[in-house]
Amino acid sequence: MTKKVLLKYSAEKAKKPILALIIKETGTLMNILHAKFDAEGGEILLAIDAPDAEAKRAIELFEQNGIETKELKRAIQLDEEKCFDCGACLSLCPTGALRLTDDYSIELDEDKCIYCEICVPSCPVRALEISKF
């Protein structure tokens, strides 16, 4: 199963190519879902598509390199029956996981979701739901 891991970089760590180094070292497939990053540090959301043990090893390596990691054990759902595409959630989403399509529909790209849950109560018809597992 794909693990979603949020990496938090401090300003100091942001200068080093830690991600590249770890990918090189482990050979694990890691997909960058979302990154928000500058000289002050930032966040990278990774999807690690590997057997459990291998994924665990990669996460340990990040920690050893001084990167804070957080495994996201959640799922978010947009109930399309309830959603009437008002977009109240759009501007609250920090990663662009919620976005407006060309025909003004709301679309949820769960890959980008960091489960901050700011959008959930903002939905006037409770069409956004977080489940934890």
């Binding site: 009437f84 977009g87 959630c89 759009l90 501007s91 903002s122 006037p124």
Partner: protein, 499 residues
């Protein structure tokens, strides 16, 4: 060239009428000009789907046996108003459930009625010889009601302001959740599709205009409350049969931290009776401007940051102070478009005919503030001006002595110019003594929640409540300490008011 509504209806009847949506009309007028457009097009269909707080419904329950004159009543625990005849009641969109708070309100009751769901009715009465009954409990669906009529005192604002937030905290408003430090922008209204913006001179819209309302055919029957046509903020009162409506276009809503409302789908057909009207229906999102307003300032007159167009707003990003800020529409543009499309189809299918209005709506009405007989008190009216302060360089011991003599728990720390630089509490002192600190500068809290001299007491009271604090230093615009205001000072005022 001039066309009459009757002639347009004849064309609809014959199947000859040319009906376009307001979005399509923008292109037609842009390409061919209003003169050609007026010849070609008969009707422009508009649409909007937004939260319209001033909505509600008249319901008639029929008589109970023994009969009751409802004095107070609740529908699914949401209070309705029965200050009229025995079994008539009005349920308003923003009235909150007494058991479920913000999660359920009048708007949800109305949606549930439209959906055909059972509604719990509870009523009490004082009892009279003709209406002896004092209590009633039953359940009804819309089919059990004699009348269930959506009757809205204010719908379809021509346009509305856009909102953002200068404060360093998230705020929850009827314009949605606004992130700190201009973190996002919200707006409402469908821009080029906006019903009233397509006929801002009210040449065709008036008392008696037949409209799309919640999926049924309804009517405009008066100007709406706060109607302000000279500011491009016109509004309308509307009526339609709830029993014929579709819950797709009538949705109860919770606005986080604000309350409940009702999303209403509304579309007005604009008969193209002349070239002026053709021109106004050709209005584009680029031409519709509104004010980006700072909802961080909790006053009637909120600061305006800049003007924005609906085109910018609909693009999803607006520039504020050199930064691109994400935007939320709040109204559903998709449903607005769908409504205009449905209205167009109804007319093409000869299911909907236009009406000749029986009276115009005001074109010069203005929206005035409330008459108030007392100025709202502000911080400087109630604050204690004589405040004992300390300097950052003062010793813990000297500060401890102040606490021993004073009856309050916060010691403001000011610099040599009188500017507030922090605050120290008795608890800070105790900890400092325990950890061997010496100077106040080592322990002061520099992030202090403050009030400004002219800040209204009501806003400060809310601040104290939200942050769970008992008082705030009051500072000048330059940051100098001017006084202290405590929740006790505020309670005294409220006590006076209640007497």
């Amino acid at each position: 060239m001039n066309k009459s509504v009757a002639a347009i209806n004849d064309r609809i009847k014959r199947g000859d009428a040319v009906v376009v949506t307001a979005e399509e009309m923008v292109e037609i007028v842009r390409e061919r000009g209003e003169v050609e457009a007026a010849k070609e097009v008969d009707v422009v269909a508009t649409g909007t789907f937004g939260a319209m707080c001033s909505s509600g419904a008249w319901l008639n329950f029929g008589h109970a046996d023994p009969p009751i004159k409802m004095q107070r009543l609740w529908l699914n625990d949401v209070e309705a108003y029965s200050g009229v005849a025995a079994v008539d009641a009005y349920i308003g969109a923003t009235q909150l459930s007494e058991t479920r708070g913000f999660e359920y309100g009048g708007g949800h009751v109305i949606e549930d009625l439209v959906r055909g769901q059972e509604i719990e009715v509870k009523a009490i009465a004082y009892g009279t010889d003709c209406y002896p009954r004092k209590e009633l409990e039953t359940t009804v669906t819309k089919d059990d009601l004699n009348q269930a009529v959506l009757c809205n005192p204010r719908n379809a604002y021509q346009r509305y302001v856009a909102a953002t937030n200068s404060r360093d905290e998230t705020i929850y408003t009827y314009m949605g959740t606004l992130l700190p430090n201009y973190g996002n922008v919200t707006y409402s209204g469908s821009g080029a599709l906006s019903p009233l913006h397509n006929d801002p001179n009210y040449e065709t819209i008036g008392v008696g205009t037949r409209i799309f309302l919640g999926g049924a055919q309804g009517y405009i029957f008066w100007e709406g409350t706060q109607h302000a046509p000279t500011k491009a903020m016109g509004t309308i009162m509307t009526i339609g049969d709830l029993k014929e409506m579709d819950a797709r276009y009538i949705r109860g809503a919770t606005i986080e931290g604000y309350g409940t409302s009702l999303y209403v789908g509304l579309g007005i057909p604009i008969p193209i009776i002349n070239e002026r009207v053709a021109k106004t229906t050709g209005i584009s999102d680029e031409e519709i401007r509104t004010n980006l307003t700072d909802y961080g300032v909790p006053r009637r007159e909120r600061p305006i940051l800049r003007e924005v167009t609906y085109a910018e707003l609909k693009s999803g990003r607006v520039e504020v102070g050199g930064k691109e800020i994400p935007v939320s529409p709040l109204s559903s543009l998709k449903q607005a478009r769908e409504i205009a499309g449905t209205l167009k189809k109804w007319i093409e299918d000869k299911k909907f005919f236009l009406t000749q209005t029986v009276e115009g709506l005001s074109t010069d009405q203005v929206f005035q503030p409330m008459r108030q007989i007392t100025a709202a008190p502000v911080a400087k009216d109630l604050m204690t001006r004589e405040v004992v302060t300390a300097k950052p360089s003062d010793s813990i011991t000297s500060a401890a002595k102040i606490f021993s003599k004073q009856n309050f728990d916060h010691l403001p720390i000011v610099d040599e110019k009188g500017k507030l630089v922090g605050i120290v509490t008795s608890w800070d002192i105790a900890v400092a003594v325990g950890t061997g600190k010496r100077r106040l500068s080592e322990i002061l809290t520099s992030k202090v929640i403050v009030a400004s001299e002219n800040e209204p007491i009501d806003a400060i009271a809310r601040k104290l409540e939200t942050h769970g604090i008992s008082g705030v230093p009051v500072v000048s615009t330059g940051g100098e300490l001017r006084g202290i205001l405590t929740s006790e000072d505020i309670s005294k005022l409220i006590g006076r008011r209640r007497r």
